[in-house]
């Protein structure tokens, strides 16, 4: 079984790797590119721990084949901060103590970023439904939702200032 050569943009940088036809994007990110921030919690698209963006669309990377990444723009948790500067979502997750074990956190952050990209001023209910695909077993979501809403406010402020 020969491998497929894939060229993609990952977090803004060129990336290439060889993959088996059946390998998931999640496994390629983790095992071929060493980007282990995306997590496998279920492997069936039910937990959201592997959430990444493909060409601006939020997906479970465990449900995408690595070969499908050819020519695409992939964004993972590793690309959320700008160098040492945390994204407001990351900062607010820390300030609100919106993580306990932290395993679901990368997926929640990627999904929340997608929400705020699409809707800069979401209601609590909109936020809860958007993040319903990301399971967190530790927090009961309370502080997660507060952190996302708070980050949304910061981003709106930044946009107004800019």
């Amino acid at each position: 079984m020969s491998k497929i050569h894939v060229t993609a943009t990952v977090n803004g940088d060129p990336a290439e790797f060889l993959t088996d036809p059946g390998t998931t994007l999640l496994d390629a990110l983790r095992d071929e590119l060493g980007l282990t921030g995306s997590k496998e919690g279920c492997g069936s698209g039910d937990c959201g721990a592997c959430s990444v963006m493909v060409d601006g669309r939020l997906v479970c990377s465990c449900l995408v084949l690595a070969a499908e990444a050819e020519g695409r723009r992939i964004e993972t948790i590793e690309g959320l901060a700008h160098g040492t500067e945390l994204h407001p979502l990351q900062q607010k997750f820390l300030e609100h103590a919106a993580l306990q074990c932290g395993f679901c956190t990368p997926g929640l952050l990627v999904a929340a970023k997608a929400l705020l990209d699409a809707n800069p001023d979401p209601s609590e209910e909109e936020t809860r439904y958007w993040l319903a695909g990301n399971l967190c077993r530790c927090t009961g979501y309370d502080k997660v939702i507060r952190a996302v809403l708070d980050a949304a406010a910061v981003l709106r402020q930044e946009r107004r200032a800019a």
């Binding site: 088996d20 983790r30 980007l35 282990t36 921030g37 995306s38 997590k39 496998e40 919690g41 279920c42 492997g43 069936s44 039910d46 937990c47 721990a49 993972t76 948790i77 590793e78 959320l80 901060a81 945390l86 990351q90 997750f93 820390l94 300030e95 609100h96 103590a97 993580l99 306990q100 074990c101 932290g102 395993f103 679901c104 956190t105 990368p106 952050l109 609590e124 209910e125 936020t127 809860r128 439904y129 993040l131 319903a132 695909g133 990301n134 399971l135 967190c136 077993r137 530790c138 927090t139 009961g140 979501y141 309370d142 502080k143 997660v144 939702i145 507060r146």
Partner: protein, 761 residues
């Protein structure tokens, strides 16, 4: 909304305790850099896979591994024959003793498989695909046996027998025949039969719960490396790397010190990672293969082969006078243990009535083996199941008496000086305060609409202490490293840093908490039983106190005074000898001169912490029922809890909110479903539905601080009691909304629909 209620007269001022700094491991966790179990890679590591039984109960007639071994790329295959047979030996864990013989048999089956998913063989190969292919080449011949899932069916005299060596313990006389009933527990006070006969008001009901899983999002994962001379290393996510070391050494008959275990970040445990499944298998494979082996479970494996908690039957009789004084309580508990003895029914018995001061009671519990995965600890093990029955019955009693449910509980509630049903006499408890906080909470007075209902329930958990080690090293620039031996499952690094900083008198950000491997620090019991902030925190504070004593000695040396002439104030040594004209010396200054005052400054403290203060909680839940679908929406949830002292209040609130969410899932959705052959039908997050963000409202908390005098800063365990009340709080709210008492969890939409239909006819 979050409130912290102090007892004003007893509230001292702290610099760090009670503040909310950003957790020390935070940036790693929001940037994806934190390394969890499956993130660890080792050069040359092989990929392992485990073959699991498709039968709930079967005899293993033979395992032929020759074809698998012949597959190119396969480096090792192990079966039960590769593991030593162990004698019965009980080892104390965080919350329950584990039988090493049963543990070893659970890790890899011998002679029989006892549940769907039981491991029968394992392979290590150069790629995951080859390992997967090799599994299919392992030929296992089974003779299937009748199986039993239901707890009461398993107790029947004609039930299929799982083990021939179980003779019910705790009986007046040892039984002459084996059964599936491993143990009977009993706690009695007074004459409950007479008191029930005399009672003016009585409640009698039977409740059931289903097995539910801890549901941590991170599947079990490890890398193990073992050399031919018997020395091994393990990297894994668990609730205790010392536990992993001990259990692996026992299962493989190794010297404990020949194993070194390094903790990965742990992606949730809730009790489910207080035992081992993969680590001994990976070590056994590595020993044969001569290379490191990585094993990672799939979600299906997590559901089918790791610990849920028990499904149970709870029968409750309550007797009371017309004024609401409870005179009698009779509680019977029957718990599924899974394939081996050890359900949390003992703890369930001890906690069942712990919130109340009762003259007469009888609590009996049965630990029953079933053809289901061996249960593992789950957050306040056993207590939520017992509380579901008792607190539902309390709600019915309040209705019958026409009393407010909080008033009924307060009238009969445990307070200082009350002797608990399980033995000790309570001191410094805040149960009544937790009730009062809910009674006074604005949420308790919000008017309800049609199809809405409000439910109250309370809960108790012991909290534990235990063996703990902490070390503090002062760096030459005056910063500190705090090393503790307990995996951080919910922010405990932050609380360790806070307590060290408070004691040393330096800012929290000058304290770096770390969790070293088993070869680099003294022993600690695992992270469980809500013990870490209390017990490990005590070791941290004592180590910091030793460091302070040493710093005072160093200052005394520099000032040429006796050590008792030096005080430690605000992170500085202050000279009390008025004849000396010396300025106070900071920790930084003293650390910088340590080479000429006696060398590096550090301290390690190992202790066995006693005096964990028990936790009490009162919850109120508002729900709305959709009469058309039977769906339940949680509108509001408010939890008050005596937390002793909140070291980092945000993470205390988080523990409460997380426990509530798990309890709501247990009440409304979660359950193990088995088919007629005893196979789990819903081994995935699609069909085993844990609460998602849109299922829950904000969860309001009230932290009540009744300090624990046995802890230097008053801490009590906080992580477990929040899951105790929600099952009944939700069920009582559904009762209020529908007018129908539903006694069988989960209260899933079809059951609610059926209850509404039955009400209509």
């Amino acid at each position: 909304m979050s409130d912290v209620l102090d007892r004003p007269a007893t509230a001292p001022q702290f610099d760090s305790v009670g503040t909310r700094p950003i957790r020390p491991d935070g940036i790693d966790k929001v940037t994806g850099r934190a390394a969890f179990g499956a993130d660890f890679v080792m050069p040359g590591a092989l990929h392992g896979r485990i073959k699991r039984s498709p039968y709930a109960h079967a005899r293993i007639l033979g395992i032929d591994t020759r074809k698998a071994l012949a597959l190119p790329g396969v480096k090792a295959v192990v079966t039960g024959a590769d593991f030593p047979d162990l004698d019965e030996e009980l080892i104390e864990g965080g919350e329950a003793a584990s039988s090493m013989r049963d543990l070893a048999w659970n890790v890899m089956a011998r002679k029989k498989v006892l549940y769907d998913g039981h491991a029968v063989a394992a392979v290590a190969a150069v790629s995951p695909a080859i390992a997967e292919a090799a599994l299919d080449l392992i030929e296992v011949t089974y003779e299937t046996l009748p199986h039993v899932i239901d707890v009461e069916a398993s107790m029947a005299p004609d039930a299929p027998l799982l083990h021939d060596h179980i003779f019910t313990s705790g009986m007046p006389e040892k039984p002459t025949t084996p059964s599936n009933i491993a143990a009977r527990h009993q706690f009695v006070r007074g004459d409950v039969d007479q008191a029930l006969a005399d009672a003016e008001v009585k409640i009698e009901a039977r409740y059931t719960t289903k097995a539910v899983h801890q549901g941590y999002i991170e599947p079990h994962a490890c890398v193990a490396s073992m050399t031919a001379d018997g020395q091994g290393q393990v990297w894994s996510s668990s609730q205790g790397h010392f536990m992993v070391r001990t259990y692996c050494a026992k299962v493989l008959k190794l010297d404990i010190s020949d194993l070194r275990v390094t903790p990965a970040e742990i992606g949730g445990g809730f009790g489910g990672k207080t035992t081992v499944y993969l680590e001994p298998v990976a070590l056994a494979l590595s020993r044969i293969a001569g290379a490191p082996v990585k094993l990672v479970m799939s979600r299906d494996e997590v559901f089918r082969a790791t610990g849920p908690t028990s499904g149970g039957v709870i029968e409750v009789k309550l007797g009371a006078t017309k004024d609401g004084t409870i005179t009698a309580a009779d509680v019977l508990l029957k718990f599924q243990a899974g394939a081996f003895p050890g359900s949390p029914v003992g703890a369930a018995c001890m906690t069942a009535l712990a919130c109340y001061d009762l003259p007469n009671f009888r609590i009996v519990g049965f630990d029953v083996v079933t053809n289901t995965p061996k249960v593992a600890a789950y957050r306040a093990p056993g207590a939520p199941i017992a509380a579901f029955g008792v607190e539902s019955a309390m709600d019915e009693l309040a209705r019958k008496l026409g009393m407010d449910p909080i008033d009924l509980r307060a009238k009969n509630g445990a307070r200082d000086g009350v002797k608990a049903a399980y033995g000790p006499t309570f001191q410094n408890i805040g149960f009544l305060e937790s009730l009062e906080a809910i009674k006074q909470h604005p949420n308790y007075a919000i008017p309800l609409g049609p199809n809405q209902g409000r439910g109250v329930a309370v809960g108790f958990w012991f909290n534990v202490g235990g063996e703990s080690t902490a070390a503090i090293h002062i760096s030459e620039d005056g910063t500190a490293t705090v090393a503790t031996a307990n995996p951080d499952i919910g922010g405990s690094r932050a609380s360790m840093a806070i307590m060290a900083a408070e004691t040393l008198g330096i800012p929290v950000d000058k304290v770096r908490p770390v969790i070293p491997d088993t070869a680099s620090i003294g022993y600690s019991m695992l992270t469980g039983g809500s013990r870490t902030t209390f017990a490990v925190g005590m070791a941290v504070v004592q180590a910091a106190e030793k460091v302070v004593a040493e710093l005072k000695r160093r200052a005394a040396k520099l000032w040429d005074v006796s050590a008792d002439q030096v005080a430690w104030e605000g992170g500085k040594a202050v000279c009390l000898d008025a004849t000396k004209d010396v300025a106070p010396m900071t920790l930084k200054a003293l650390a910088g001169q340590s080479a000429r005052t006696g060398g590096p400054i550090s301290a390690e403290v190992s202790l066995n912490a006693q005096g964990a203060g028990p936790g009490f909680a009162t919850h109120v839940c508002d729900v709305e029922i959709d009469p058309e679908t039977g769906g339940v929406t949680v509108l509001r949830y408010t939890a008050s809890q005596d937390v002793g002292r909140a070291i980092h209040p945000s993470y205390v609130e988080g523990q409460i909110q997380g426990g509530v969410a798990q309890g709501v899932g247990w009440a409304l959705n979660e359950e193990y479903i088995f088919d007629a052959e005893g196979r789990m039908e819903n081994a995935g997050f699609l069909d085993y539905r844990v609460p998602v963000a849109s299922d829950l409202p904000m969860i309001d908390t009230v932290l009540i601080e009744v300090p624990n005098p046995r802890h230097p800063y008053g801490a009590k365990g906080v992580g477990e009691v929040p899951i105790v009340p929600p099952l009944a709080a939700v069920a009582n709210a559904v009762r209020a909304a529908t007018g129908v008492r539903m006694c069988d969890l989960p209260l899933s939409p079809p059951k609610i629909r059926a209850a509404l239909d039955a009400r209509a006819t």
